[in-house]
């Protein structure tokens, strides 16, 4: 069972690179140029994972501040904080950044860091492709933000894209989007999409070919399962967006007519292509969140996950169904009623496997010894908030209801409940849970509780009222509104909530800096949570090679087997 039996039968060239930089990596003090050298040349999945996460957290702060400016503008009627044109750029950049430069790289980062550790491998299947994926994502991000200085708009140099994150045509055509900002949007997203495809391909190949002996598919950790299904969705759902963006560039630069209504092109085709990508995309973002919950909840309930096969089957089912619900974003364009019925029914169907997942998490907690540490608190808040998000999602899936509330703040509130109340909360849970693994240090529990409560109160304060103003008819993407519609109070409350969320994120950043920077911060040891999956079997932080000996696995909870040789899991599998 020695390391020579490692399934990767080839000594790859990247191993030599690792040998070359090991002296730098293992010394405590890195000079700036050495650190830069390591960052630029590394193909190590752990470093790339952390680079993904750090880059996306920076984008998260930027896009969060954009949201704050928008809430400031909308806090009072007839606001004068920003001009209408700036407001359009703000919501476009906020949405685009959050989806393509925060959500996608965050999930790539968690997948990169955790999957090889969880399946007992020493790296991803294609380490250099992995590095390529990161750098092309970052390049895409820079390209998008370069539009602030380089995207000569109508008023001369420097304007950001202002066409909304789904960039409906024909607004994006040359005739209506003069200047270069729309091109920066298109190319930036196209580049970061290539990065996502590279990382998805890598995840699939890693899970298929790199599992340690005994790690059958049925024993794989839930997070790995979710990321596997997620990567399939990325492979299938992302190319439609790239294709549509290539068509858009052909329209803008070679005078093609794909979305040019003056020459017989269709205004609806872009919407179809975009949402064929766009709806699976929200599941692509939420699957890693599901994966994090499925790892964290069992550990802090001291119970194995309830109904593992059902959880996997539900994930696969959501993956399939999510490919056939896209037109529920388009009920208002006037599809024929057969299409409306099909897409409404398909949307309802997603509720079934999602419900299975929520019930299984609850069943995992039921009868368990619950430990209310910060990661668990974020998971519990996720359950409440994602349930609300799911219910409003089903409401919006009903065609006539959607006709009433389409493009209102009700929709904004709904998808922020999924993406902030769901995705971001799960990411916070994952950060608190795996930070000790990546750094060897604990995050402060006191600051963590402050972070959690401020975030939860702030989030709900912001987004619950937006449901109400949406129902009262406030459309999304308006830069201001007059007195007397009954929207004033709710908008003010929503903006107050933002202050709490900003404070929460500041505490989170402070917590991380404290833990990393202070010499007396609490050390975690290798396995602070008394966990059961393989990533906790190695040191914290893991060495370059992850495992001294490639482990052999006999059940879905290999560390439980090690810690309880008298009562191992494999006896019951």
């Amino acid at each position: 069972m020695g390391s020579t039996d490692y399934p990767l039968d080839r000594q790859d060239a990247h191993q030599d690179v690792h040998q070359a930089i090991r002296p730098y990596v293992h010394s405590d003090k890195l000079s700036f140029s050495d650190a830069l050298y390591v960052i630029v040349t590394t193909v190590d999945h752990k470093k790339l994972g952390l680079m993904y996460i750090v880059a996306s957290l920076i984008f998260l702060v930027i896009a969060g501040l954009m949201a704050s400016v928008m809430r400031l503008q909308l806090a009072f009627p007839n606001g004068h904080v920003v001009s209408p044109a700036t407001f359009n750029r703000l919501f476009t950049m906020h949405g685009t950044t959050m989806v393509f430069l925060v959500g996608m790289p965050l999930l790539a980062g968690f997948a990169n860091y955790l999957i090889p550790l969880m399946i007992g491998a020493r790296d991803m299947a294609f380490p250099r492709l992995n590095a390529f994926g990161f750098w092309i994502f970052l390049f895409g991000g820079f390209l998008l933000y370069f539009s602030y200085v380089g995207g000569g708009g109508l008023q001369g140099a420097g304007s950001a894209p202002d066409v909304g994150w789904f960039a409906y045509s024909p607004l994006t055509e040359r005739a209506f989007s003069r200047g270069l900002s729309t091109d920066y949007w298109t190319l930036g997203v196209l580049c970061s999409g290539i990065g996502s495809l590279a990382s998805a391909l890598n995840v699939i190949a890693t899970v298929a070919s790199m599992r340690c002996p005994g790690m059958t598919l049925s024993r794989m950790p839930m997070f790995v399962w979710l990321m596997l299904v997620d990567s399939w969705l990325i492979l299938i759902a992302l190319p439609p967006l790239s294709a549509a963006q290539i068509m858009l560039m052909l329209d803008r630069y070679l005078g093609a007519h794909f979305f040019d209504t003056q020459n017989g092109g269709s205004a609806i085709l872009w919407q179809h292509f975009f949402w064929i990508f766009g709806h699976p995309e929200v599941y692509i973002l939420i699957f890693p969140a599901f994966g994090i919950l499925s790892e964290v909840i069992p550990i802090f309930s001291r119970k194995p996950i309830f109904g593992r096969p059902a959880m996997v089957a539900a994930a696969v089912a959501i993956g399939f169904i999510s490919l056939s619900v896209w037109a529920h974003h388009m009920f208002a364009v006037g599809l024929d009623s057969a299409s409306n019925i099909f897409f409404a029914a398909a949307t309802m169907m997603v509720g079934v496997p999602t419900g299975i997942k929520i019930f299984n998490w609850l069943a995992t907690m039921y009868g368990g010894k619950l430990i209310f540490r910060t990661p668990m608190l974020f998971c519990i808040a996720f359950l409440f908030q994602f349930l609300i998000a799911g219910l409003t999602g089903i409401m919006l899936g009903v065609t006539p209801f959607d006709w009433q509330l389409h493009d209102s703040y009700f929709v904004v509130a709904h998808f922020h409940f999924t993406l902030v109340g769901g995705f971001v909360f799960a990411i916070f849970a994952g950060m608190y849970y795996w930070f000790p693994k990546a750094s060897g240090r604990m995050l402060s529990e006191t600051l963590g509780k402050w972070h959690f409560w401020l975030m939860t109160v702030g989030f709900n304060l912001t987004f619950i009222p937006l449901h109400f103003v949406g129902m009262m008819g406030m459309p999304r993407r308006i830069y201001t509104y007059p007195y007397g519609r009954g929207w004033e109070l709710w908008n003010f409350v929503a903006s107050v909530g933002v202050v709490l969320q900003l404070a929460a994120v500041a505490i989170f950043v402070w917590n991380i800096l404290q833990s990393l920077g202070r010499s007396d911060s609490e050390r975690s040891g290798d396995d602070p949570w008394n966990a059961w999956t393989l990533e906790w079997a190695t040191h914290s932080p893991p060495p370059e090679y992850n495992f001294e000996k490639i482990p052999v696995v006999y059940s879905s909870r290999p560390l439980w087997d090690l810690k309880h040789p008298e009562d191992p899991d494999w006896e019951f599998e």
Binding site: I204, A208, G255, H257, V552, Y554
Partner: protein, 201 residues
Amino acid sequence: MASVSSALVPPVIDPAQWKLPDRGIIGIACLIITESALFSIFVVGYIFYIGKSLNGPYPKDVLHFPVLGTIALLSSSVTIVIAERALEHGRRALFQLWWIVTILLGAFFLGSTAMEWHQLIVNEHLTISTNLFGTTFYSLVGLHASHVIVGLLFLLLVGAVTLFGFPIETQKRRVMFLSWYWHFVDVVWIIVFTVVYIVGR
């Protein structure tokens, strides 16, 4: 059932018997799947706009079956398999011969596409901006042709490696992945041909 007294002995898993699929096969398969998704959107775009051009020239007036090019491309899928077989049996000269034939057939296809485009642009005055037919035709056929170009570049790379005497025998896997990609480009052409030259006319 669980015994509480003593440690149990786990079932034996022999790591030597632990076989998983080759990562390269998975990688190239994923690439082909994601490329298929990309192509299918362009094909849908083409089908969606059939017959919706506001002005001529129309497909039935200007398009001719690219018979020779199609034959060349489809044959190249056969010759690349013959080349692979030769490599399998260690017959280097035979491999080189069939590899060069494959490159020539691919290049012939590309040339015939270039001739067709030249004829359409110069004689029929059909460009990508003329009408919806031009838009969808050039983008779909052009997307395929760009994949042929990429394939040809890699074929040339392998050809250069073997002609300059580097050992190709150690690269059988990579040659296989390249031939998978080449077959994929072929299959896509069958679909493009059907949609553009049969359904679209």
